[in-house]
């Protein structure tokens, strides 16, 4: 049986820590990654002074610089507080309110991606155990429903005229235009338009149901990736923020997943040590199968061949198990976000390449390659670190308790 989750070090200021905060793990991760976006893209600096506001009330502050500075300080301090685990919900409420006030205070500041950030942070700040992640989930679905509906009801989207016109200044891949030239006029733009509409509705509907959620997230990532590859644009922070918010649809393990490995293998022991070093939450309980009381119905022969991970009664093995360990480790998301947010040089546009490689690595398409690589290493594991075998923990050694 998997051990119960423990909530440790409540007062920790480690930005990578997520357990024991006033938001559940997936929402805390959403808040922190969005905070990284705010700091990494200097969004706090862009907070506006009132200028042509949506509500005339804000014109009272038109000639004072204090309003804009107040918003900048609120967003900056809020983002730092979120990262340092200080009054997380209150900090989210402050950030969200600042973005929404900025949007209302200036029509020229209005951008959907900024408003989206404001709405998500605002709803994170209003989190209650009773509502769970559904507020953020509803926000994401509302955006896709509205965006899909707006496109569907627009004749220029349905006819492909919008996409055709937009592509000539937004798409910088000549292959797209070469492909378009093979087809009759407007055929490809119309196909792209309808594909976008269908994808947006599919994401919205798919996210509603537990069974289709992973599929919907996959389509959402594909949509973001496709747009980025075609245009090399991030659409403000939409390219980062929307995929981050899909984490609100992920169910984190209710109990600590158990990793069963071959204790008679020095390489496996080294791997355990390496993986545990990056498992700051101590989420995974590593056990040599030779000493485990419960093998979860897996035969010792299978355990000798492959590493197994058991999470909430689901079993993963080999490369799949490592992939799950990465996906349940917050550091993975911080690392991926950092790689994607790195400034691009003039000649090397790495962002879309990084995004494609990451998507490919975690997609089922890469699984056969990953499994083959895993099998190769597993077969030769005793040769890789020869002389470091038989590192079984003595029976008196207390098992890892999380």
């Amino acid at each position: 049986m998997a051990a119960k989750l423990n909530l440790h070090e409540l007062g920790s200021r480690n930005p990578f820590r997520l357990a024991g905060l006033d938001l559940p793990v997936p929402l805390a991760l959403v808040a922190k990654l969005l905070a990284v976006c705010i700091l990494g893209r200097f969004l706090w600096r862009d907070m506006p002074d009132p200028f042509l506001p949506m509500l005339p009330l804000f014109d009272l502050f038109h000639s004072t610089p204090y309003f804009g500075w107040l918003l900048r300080i609120a967003v900056l301090s809020g983002a730092i507080a979120v990262l340092l685990n200080y009054r997380m919900r209150a900090a989210c409420l402050v950030i969200g309110s600042a973005f929404l006030l900025g949007t209302l205070a200036s029509r020229v500041y209005f951008e959907n991606n900024r408003m989206f950030l404001g709405c998500v942070f605002f709803l994170l700040g209003l989190y209650q155990q009773r509502t769970g992640p559904w507020l953020v989930r509803a926000q994401v679905m509302l955006v896709f429903l509205s965006a899909g509906l707006n496109k569907l009801l627009d004749p220029s989207w349905r006819s492909g005229h919008f996409f055709d016109y937009w592509s000539h200044y937004a798409i910088n891949k000549s292959q797209y235009f070469q492909l378009a030239s093979f087809f009759p006029n407007l055929y490809l733009p119309r196909f792209m338009s309808w594909m976008t509409i269908v994808m947006e509705f599919s994401i919205m509907i798919g996210l509603l149901f537990r069974r289709t959620r992973v599929f919907a997230i996959f389509i959402g990532l594909l949509l973001a990736l496709g747009m980025n590859v075609l245009t090399e644009r991030t659409f403000g922070v939409f390219f980062y923020a929307m995929p981050i918010c899909y984490l609100a649809f992920i169910e984190w393990p209710r109990s600590n997943p158990t990793v069963l490995y071959d204790g008679d293998c020095g390489f496996c022991f080294r791997t355990r040590g390496w993986m545990e070093r990056f498992d700051l939450e101590k989420l995974f309980v590593w056990k040599p199968f030779q000493q485990a009381k419960d093998l979860h119905g897996i035969s010792p022969e299978d355990l000798r061949k492959r590493l197994y991970l058991v999470a909430d009664e689901k079993k993963y093995s080999g490369f799949g198990a490592f992939k799950i360990m990465l996906l349940y480790n917050p550091i993975t998301y911080f690392a991926m976000l950092t790689a994607l947010m790195m400034p691009q040089s003039l000649y090397l546009h790495h962002r879309s390449w990084v995004a494609v490689l990451l998507a490919l690595f975690f997609s089922p398409l890469f699984a056969p390659v990953g499994e083959a690589a895993y099998a190769l290493v597993a077969r030769n594991r005793n040769r890789i670190l020869s002389g470091e075998t038989c590192v079984l923990e003595p029976p008196s050694h207390p098992s890892h308790q999380a």
Partner: protein, 112 residues
């Protein structure tokens, strides 16, 4: 209380999305990058044409380019400016725009 506030907040957005179906602008209505409006604007104040920089300062918009919100959003910005901050300058604005690859349209301030 928080739950009610959150639900009201989401409902408000739904109202805004529905309202947007009946007006040409898309403020707070979740239509991200759904438009491509190629445009060029000319502004005269007391007969003197404003430079691109001056137009940028006046409206926080480029004097020409592609705007990724409905043209009505841009018109709202110009009109609000001319009705408030620039009220006494009697600016004359000519905005030629091409929404989503369609035919070129024109909008002028002051409106007849």
């Amino acid at each position: 209380m928080k739950q009610i506030a959150a639900i009201c907040f989401l409902l408000l957005q739904i109202v805004s999305v529905v309202y947007a179906r009946f007006v040409p602008s898309r403020w707070l209505a979740w239509a991200p990058n759904d438009y491509a409006i190629g445009y060029k604007m000319q502004v005269h104040i007391h007969g003197r044409p404003l430079s691109a920089d001056e137009i940028g300062k006046r409206y926080s918009l480029l004097s020409e380019g592609v705007y990724e919100n409905p043209a009505q959003n841009m018109i709202d910005i110009i009109r609000q400016n001319e009705q408030t901050y620039g009220r006494n300058e009697q600016a004359e604005v000519e905005l030629a725009y091409r929404p989503n690859g369609g035919p070129v349209q024109e909008w002028r301030w002051p409106q007849n």
